[in-house]
Amino acid sequence: MTRIETGPIEAGQAPRQVGRGINRLEAHAKVTGRAGYIHNLTLPRMLHAKIFRSTVAHGRIVSIDTSAAREAPGVFAVYTADDIRRVMPEPYFGPAFHDQPILAIDKVRYIGEPVAVVLASDPHAADEATHLIMAEYEELPAVFNEVEAATSDVHVHEELRPAGTFPDLKHLAGRKATNVALDFRVRRGDVETAFAQAAHVFDDTFTTQQVMHVPLEPMVSVAEPGENAGTLTLHTASQSPSFVRIEVARLLGWAENRVRVRVGLLGGGFGAKLYIKLEALAAALALLTRRPVRVALTMEEQFFTITKHATTFRMQTAVSADGRITGRRCEVWWNGGAYADIGPRVTQKSGFTASGPYDIDNVSIDSYQVYTNLPPAGAFRGFGIPQMVWAYESHADMIARKLNLDPVEFRRRNLLRDGQPHATGTVMRDAALGLVLDRVAERMNWSAPFDHGGGTVRRGRGVGIGFKALVAPTTSVAMVSLAADGSCTVYSSTVDMGQASDTAIALMAGDVLGIDAEKIKVIRPDTDSTPYDMATLGSRSTFHMGHAVRLAAEDARAKLRALADELGVPPDEPARAGDLLKRKYGMQAGNIVGIGSFIPPYTKPDHETGQSENITPNWMIGGTGVEVEVDMETGHFKVLRFENVVDCGTPINPKVVDTQISGAAIMQLGITMFERMEFDEVGQLRNASFAEYKIPGIHDIPHRIGRETVDAYQSNGPFGAKGVGESATFGVASAIAEAIEDATGVRIKTLPITPEAVYRALCAARNEPLPEE
């Protein structure tokens, strides 16, 4: 990895900005109810769209009768895929595969898939009329389980349709009679021999459940025909405005500059609002009606739009007599649902970390993205890593128990250290794995005796550690403008969805320019004015946009110096924009504009072996320790203590980093303890609302929550920083499973770990198993 010098700021200017714990720039707007979400947007003559959805999991569309809906009072129009094709001839979208129709074509592939849409000035009128649409399907057999689907005769798609965006998916084009949308592999060393020679071999299966992000601002896109024919504006709650522009322009066959995408503050994202979701539909409807159209989902509808992959892991591990891991075989099946979304990237980017943060010479990983007849799965805070860590860390604890080794000591013995090659061959750098583990253990007072309780109330504890490779290679571009009064504006397409990216950008630009962050304005993403950024995802913005902003600010600073030289300012005097521009133009006029763009070096993994010299720019690390108290009579348990430690390099804004750590950890706590999308035998989701799908509330958070960033420096990062938004999710789930085993002696290998699951396991352990549900 190349070390990128950020350089000291010029003497005599404002003090360092990076590292200041400051309030969010938009804090006042958020406490006064005035924050600008796209949710708030109303436009003159705007129509509301309501979606009619499939009621069968897999079926051929025989007919769609919209006549009664068209006649309903207040209805402006009712459209199906045939209408969409009038403005978008090939209306299939997706970031990895062009497999998802804007409205269903020929077939439906899951319950809840959009089939038709009603438009009306009154959203209630549109909603009522959706109930008058009649669709007839010829039902087909459906497949729901990811492992079954991998070899099933039931095929969700007739043919794979990779988008062409990713070169490593091209080989899949035209592949027929399979649900496996991507098979990714890593091969290193000699796994067969390692297992043959092992002192101990472990073989376990772990699963995770399908869950939903439930951002509290439900997904919303408003499309508005432009003033000039052949132009369009999308106002959308999106994490990826640049991608939306490219994809909508592609669907329309237009140049990018005819589509404008603007984004407000997001009421949460967590991966749900990535790539393209409602935007293609909204765009088509605005062109068909020649009016602004708002497509806004209800909370219920979000569950039918994008989810987190359910997974099945088979983990096999070879261990030497002295507790060293010598071999690992891992097969992962990712339940992608009916459309690929970004699932194939999850399969690859998380798949290659299946050997965990451990030094293992012999590794074989197979990671499969599998189509099923369920709502699509895509990115979700952690991009597959939380599922992956659940499996390999649960397995680590089970091995340590079997070998009678302390779980912290077992991990220490096997952790990857800087300078050692990861299973992909990439040499580890700036990955403070040992330090994170040590700090978790110290915060837990691990070496002191622990009171396990007794009788009906038992206590236990566990730790977990995981890492994530930053997604690569991706591009960020930023622009910095200095006005002739010296004030600074930054143009960036990073979306602030609550992670305080605007504030971090201001801190980094201000650091280079010697301006207080609070005085800098960061322009909200608008593709007409803010430059390209790949997307706000995967904790990539601090690193990528951070560098782009830094480079833009340095460019502005260099231009200031050049202007100072041109004007004859002595080199030892500071070059201030306000003074220089006034001298140059004779009045308060003009701008200094700096541009920065950044793409890190990257070597794509070999197709056959997954080997790469440089598979990622950096590793983000998170560790968690928990103590639980379990009621042996009911299976109910409480998390008494929750310690979360991350390596994010330099914290850009320590105050926000703290909230990112506990926020991520608590989100994962909910996924570990109660969140689960429940489907019946025909694939109908039964709990698509907060009445039946529980997320963490204020009573669910532990009384003791610790959070810490270790003293670390990411040498190729901007100001020594790397991302942090996901890291604290990694270690949570397995640590709770281990703490429960430590307390009770039973091991749970399926998420979520509900009181019922614990109770069932306790009954089974005393040879009184309960009947299955």
Partner: protein
């Protein structure tokens, strides 16, 4: 949808207002559509998340379930009124200082409930704070900071009362 409009007159953030609304509309829809107030927001649509919390006659209600027609003659207050005197309410200031939000979508509801709590119980324990805010959800999980903010606001209000 309905042909029958209901004429309403009520006090909104200290101002007498009128509106003619369809009987099925909620107070939340009327606040947004008629008065351009977006601080209260619909999220779950079932009265379970608290994002839509407003005050009606001094009681906190879920604006997504409360029919606008029921507000006739009532006194309705939204988050936009908390800083009506030109300065932030202590609870707003405390939310900023404690970093008690991330995306901010739930914040209006938490502010309305927290202020109501402090009006009823100026010195709440942590258990009382958790109990009172149990009907509000924050997907970003800024709960630790929200608890801190309510405690800080309570302390500031006590200091202001003594001063």
């Amino acid at each position: 949808m309905s042909e029958t409009l209901i004429d309403l007159e009520f006090t909104l953030n200290g101002e007498r207002v009128r509106a003619s609304v369809e009987p099925h509309l909620t107070i939340l829809e009327v606040l947004r559509n008629e008065f351009g107030l977006y601080g209260a927001r619909e999220s779950c649509g079932q009265g379970l998340c608290g994002c839509c919390t407003v005050l009606v006659n001094g009681d906190t209600v879920s604006g997504c379930l409360y029919l606008a027609a029921m507000a006739n003659g009532a006194d309705v207050t939204t988050v936009e009124h908390l800083d009506a005197n030109g300065t932030l309410d202590p609870i707003q200031q405390a939310f900023i200082e404690c970093g008690a939000f991330q995306c901010g979508f739930c914040t209006s509801g938490f502010l309305m409930m927290s202020r109501q709590l402090l009006d009823e119980n100026p010195d709440p324990t942590e258990a009382e704070i958790r109990h009172y805010l149990a009907g509000n959800l924050c997907r970003c999980a800024a709960y630790p900071e929200i608890i801190d903010a309510v405690k800080l606001a309570a302390q500031r209000r006590k200091e202001a009362a003594l001063a």
